[in-house]
């Protein structure tokens, strides 16, 4: 239970939401989405931490009678979350390339006019 990790992760999520809500450039909006991903992953792994625990890999040469493990389940879920974040980023960057080629601009207020 590390307080600065929680504060930092929620601050990153809030910063990412602020970036997505206020900026007009499409690439900046994507950067905000990436920051939300970082904050959420940090939160999940920080919740599963026990002070004094080791990594959940059985290397017996380093362990003693007093050692115990940190939680392995949130780490496995965070792996999935990281891969999903990367896939979303790749696909939206392909969309950004097409939008720039078609509309000529990356301003999110100008590409709202649906043109046939």
């Amino acid at each position: 239970m590390i307080l600065e990790n929680f504060v930092a992760s929620f601050f990153l999520i809030a910063l990412g939401l602020y970036c997505m809500a206020t900026k007009k450039n499409l690439i900046k909006i994507l950067i905000g989405m990436g920051l939300c991903d970082y904050g959420a992953n940090l939160l999940i792994v920080s919740v599963g931490f026990n002070p004094g625990g080791t990594a959940p890999i059985f290397t017996i040469s380093e362990l003693s009678r007093d050692s115990f493990f940190v939680d392995p389940v949130p780490q496995a879920l965070t792996l999935t979350s990281i891969v999903i974040g990367a896939c979303t980023t790749a696909m939206v960057l392909g969309l950004v390339i097409r939008i720039k080629a078609k509309y000529g601009t990356l301003d999110s207020t100008k590409i709202r006019k649906l043109r046939g």
Binding site: V7, L43, S46, F58, F68, F69, T80, R98, T105, D107
Partner: protein
């Protein structure tokens, strides 16, 4: 509209502050007092010496049971690996589907229509007056007539020639040793997909096209996914659960289980998928350095020079 934008700004900041405060307080309270896995009651040395000697009568969560059962029911030492492929193999299947879907979607978005060699074949609707600059790819060793001195990236090619096998071996080492050390399918797959970048930087787009074929990579990625499903379904056909270890050898020194086959399938899947993704993005880029100066006409050259490089600094404000 000054008041409207000001109200909107205040709303935005207040809502973000609420998220921050409630989130931090809630997370701190949850991690402090709610029942989570407190591993200090597990005797890990005793579990290693006698794998079957554990007691899950008063377990405080799923993680407690997983850590205690890891040595007996799986042949892997890495607990996160066994959670990913053994105890929760179904979630990994869904994640592989997401990867396939994202790459198929990017393939559909960045498809080229028409001439592959033109630099503007990614969906531009406006017709252009002048043909695009004829680009000559010099990296594949293409010769050019004239007395102009041509650069050849000797340093990049030599370094890529040396580093390519090391990159592949390192990436696959991490994939194959996922059960005993930190690593696994995803991490090793992403690392070994760096060979696409090495080949592109050294040999250009021509070399990349000669070496890889994105359609074949996408098909083999799908075959790896089908292999994962078949290994998982073999347990269902035998009468047990999905992702059942129908191969299980745990002799102390020799450990083998069918989750390692699934790990290798996921490693190949991720490697082929990320290679395919990078090839598609680099082909959409489709510019090669070293455009020749004498093959353009005067008009096109003047047009190209009129676009000042300083106008394209790409700040956030000039979109």
């Amino acid at each position: 509209m000054n008041r409207k934008t000001r109200i909107r700004k205040i709303e935005l900041f207040v809502s973000l502050a609420v998220i921050l405060i409630i989130g931090v307080v809630g997370a701190a309270r949850m991690a402090g007092s709610a029942p989570t896995y407190d591993g200090s009651r597990t005797d890990v040395v005793g579990l290693y010496e006698n794998p079957a000697n554990y007691d899950t009568a008063d377990a405080d969560g799923v993680s407690d049971i997983i850590v205690k059962e890891n040595n007996q029911y799986t042949a892997a030492l890495n607990t996160v690996y066994s959670v990913t492929f053994n105890f929760r193999g179904y979630d990994t299947l869904g994640e592989s589907f997401i990867l396939v879907g994202a790459i198929a979607g990017t393939m559909a978005i960045l498809r080229k229509k028409g001439n592959k060699a033109s630099a503007q074949a990614v969906g531009t609707d406006a017709g252009t007056v002048v043909k695009p600059m004829k680009v000559v790819d010099y990296r594949g060793g293409a010769k050019k007539k004239g007395k102009t001195y041509r650069q050849k990236p000797v340093i990049m090619q030599s370094c890529a020639n040396i580093l390519l096998p090391f990159t592949l071996v390192y990436g696959w080492y991490i994939v194959l040793h996922g059960a005993m050390s930190p690593g696994g399918g995803f991490q090793g797959g992403v690392i070994s997909a760096g060979i696409v970048l090495l080949v592109y930087l050294a040999f250009g787009l021509t070399g990349l096209r000669k070496t890889f074929h994105p359609g074949f990579l996408h098909s083999s990625e799908t075959i790896a996914e089908i292999f994962y499903i078949c290994v998982g379904l073999a347990g269902v056909f035998a009468g047990m659960n999905f992702c059942f270890n129908f191969v299980f050898i745990n002799n102390g020194t020799f450990r083998e289980e069918s989750a390692m086959l699934m790990n290798d399938a996921v490693g190949y899947h991720v490697c082929a998928g990320i290679c395919c993704l990078l090839i598609m993005m680099l082909e959409a880029l489709d510019i090669d350095m070293g455009a020749s100066d004498e093959e353009e006409s005067g008009i096109a050259k003047k047009a190209a020079l009129s676009v000042n490089a300083q106008e394209l600094t790409y700040r956030e404000a000039d979109i």
